[in-house]
């Protein structure tokens, strides 16, 4: 197992390098626009534009910029953000904890409720609880975050004045964003759990356990759940990884200073160093989360082994 982990980590280096390179080249070659135009302003003359281009080193050939970037990155210097003027690494360091917090809360709560709903509906299959729970769970998943977020704001902030609209200084500020993000998670986990449990509940496994006279609840929770875990873990891992990239729309709507909002601001202004830094951060997070998921697979199901 240790060898496997080590090998995975080693392979991830070229992976991350590949991603960075693709994004680096794509930004300069394939995506139209240039940070110069924001930096120079609306009334700029061609001379000013050229002067600014030189000032920020954007006039050098792409490959030269690339090696400068790589050399600096290896030393931990991701450059300065064109938009904020601060070092990219410090800006990201301030934003990442928010994104992690939002991710952990959303995935955690979503998975928790999802498991609960999945178990209840699987056990009470066919009953009105089953139908109603599934309806509710799926209902909330049907709305895009940008819409659900606004509705929550209109109802709870503007209408009922129970929660603040935007900001991040108190725990109340996180309630609506977490709800917005976790409904999708809940639906996914609930349905997956229900489906996986229903598979197991009819199988030989459970017949054996039942014949031994264990209380039915224990059967469900321990044996069935354990065997249903593989797809659930996969999905939790994927959601975690996806949200670590920053829930762009939710962060924008609720004014949370996370990585997603940083990315979208950087993309709008073509802040190359910031975009590159953000991509790097997200890529590294993915590597670790995926590795963790694969390790957990093996832990949960001892029959899985990696050659």
């Amino acid at each position: 197992m240790q060898k496997y982990i080590l090998r995975r980590l080693l392979i991830s280096i070229p992976l991350i390098l590949a991603i960075i390179t693709i994004v680096f080249v794509m930004l300069r070659v394939a995506i139209p626009g240039d940070p110069v135009y924001t930096l120079a302003g609306e009334t700029a003359s061609p001379e000013l534009i050229e002067a600014i281009r030189q000032k920020y080193g954007l006039d050098r050939p792409v490959w030269e910029q690339y090696f400068i970037f790589l050399g600096n990155a290896a030393r931990g210097d991701l450059g300065n953000s064109l938009k904020f003027g601060e070092p990219v690494s410090s800006v990201l360091a301030k934003a990442f904890p928010f994104t992690v917090l939002l991710t952990v809360l959303s995935v955690g709560i979503g998975t928790g409720f999802g498991l609960l709903a999945g178990v209840i509906t699987a056990v009470r299959r066919g009953s009105w609880i089953d139908r109603l729970s599934m309806l509710i769970v799926v209902f909330f998943n049907a709305f895009p975050t940008f819409w659900l977020g606004l509705i929550l704001i209109l109802v709870f902030s503007v209408g009922l004045r129970m929660l603040p609209v935007e900001g991040y200084s108190t725990w109340q500020h996180f309630v609506l964003p977490v709800i917005t993000l976790s409904v999708g998670q809940t639906a996914l986990i609930a349905r997956l759990t229900r489906s996986s449990l229903l598979e197991i509940l009819g199988g030989d496994y459970v017949r054996t356990a039942r014949s031994k006279g264990l209380a039915e609840r224990r059967i469900v929770l321990v044996h069935a759940l354990k065997n249903s875990l593989i797809p659930i873990i996969t999905v939790v891992g994927l959601s975690f990884a996806a949200l670590l990239g920053g829930a762009v729309i939710t962060e924008s709507i609720f004014g949370l200073p996370g990585v997603g909002r940083l990315t979208i601001a950087a993309i709008a202004d073509l802040d190359y160093p910031m975009i590159q830094g953000g991509v790097l951060l997200v890529a590294v997070s993915f590597v670790f989360v995926n590795l963790a998921v694969d390790v957990i697979y093996a832990v949960v199901d001892p029959r899985i082994h990696y050659e």
Binding site: V23, S195, I233, G245, I249, F286, E307
Partner: protein, 296 residues
Amino acid sequence: MASSTSSPVQLSVPRGDSPFVQARRAFVKNRAAVLALLVLLIILLSAVFASNLTTYDPVKRDAKARTQAPSAEHLLGTDALGRDLFTRLLYGGRISLQVGFFSVLASALVGVPMGLVAGYMGGRVDNWIMRFMDLILAFPGLILAIWLVSMLGVSITNVIIAISIGSIPTYARITRGVTLSTREMDYVVAAHSMGASAARILRLHILPSVVAPLIVLVTLSISSNIVAGASLSFLGLGVRPPLPEWGAMLADGRGYMRNAWWMSVFPGVAIMLVVLAANVVGDGLRDALDPRTRSR
């Protein structure tokens, strides 16, 4: 095998119908699923035959009819440019349904085989395939979408491509996960030791286990992909105006929620109906296809 034509005893064991016939029968018994399927069919047909169901033009503006509430003339009201909402919903269904369906199809067609191969073969093949999936996953979806749009322009096809690329790893990963655990099960190991070919094992033993979570994934994907299309429209990367599309209509109507709620509520309801129906049908399918639950 001995022929049974001249057997004196008539065994009353019914010759098994094909699994599909059995499944269909089981599905039909599930009234909720049938209802949901009907709903989907109605939505699909109304999108296809939109021009027969409404006489309004979905893109033509009418300054005098701006933001009108639902009435006899305009069943679901009008939008900011005076266009009939019901009409735009019908025509918009074409695009939204296409996006939902084809993106899922594309992701599944690419992702599932990859996951099967990776999970079954293990070792280096597994590694390479999964790392490639990681590459796609780790790649920021937003940048990919922006790049696609700027390279290839805005169109339904590109929206479908952008969304499906992002989901391929999900299909691959889930398939691989289930394959991994099923591969180790006793009956699979036994079949393998008896010399069954990989293809046979995959088809007979592994695929059925994969089907159940896949159905859940597919039905949820159709709905979440339609929603993803909506988010792309919100970010300005969706279909080109003035084409109607549920997600774009939802995004447009967002600012009017306080005073012209119908502009966003109805597209939202349309999306929700498709999502709900798809999920119920999915559950029904899963229940019908699984012999163990069917027998209950």
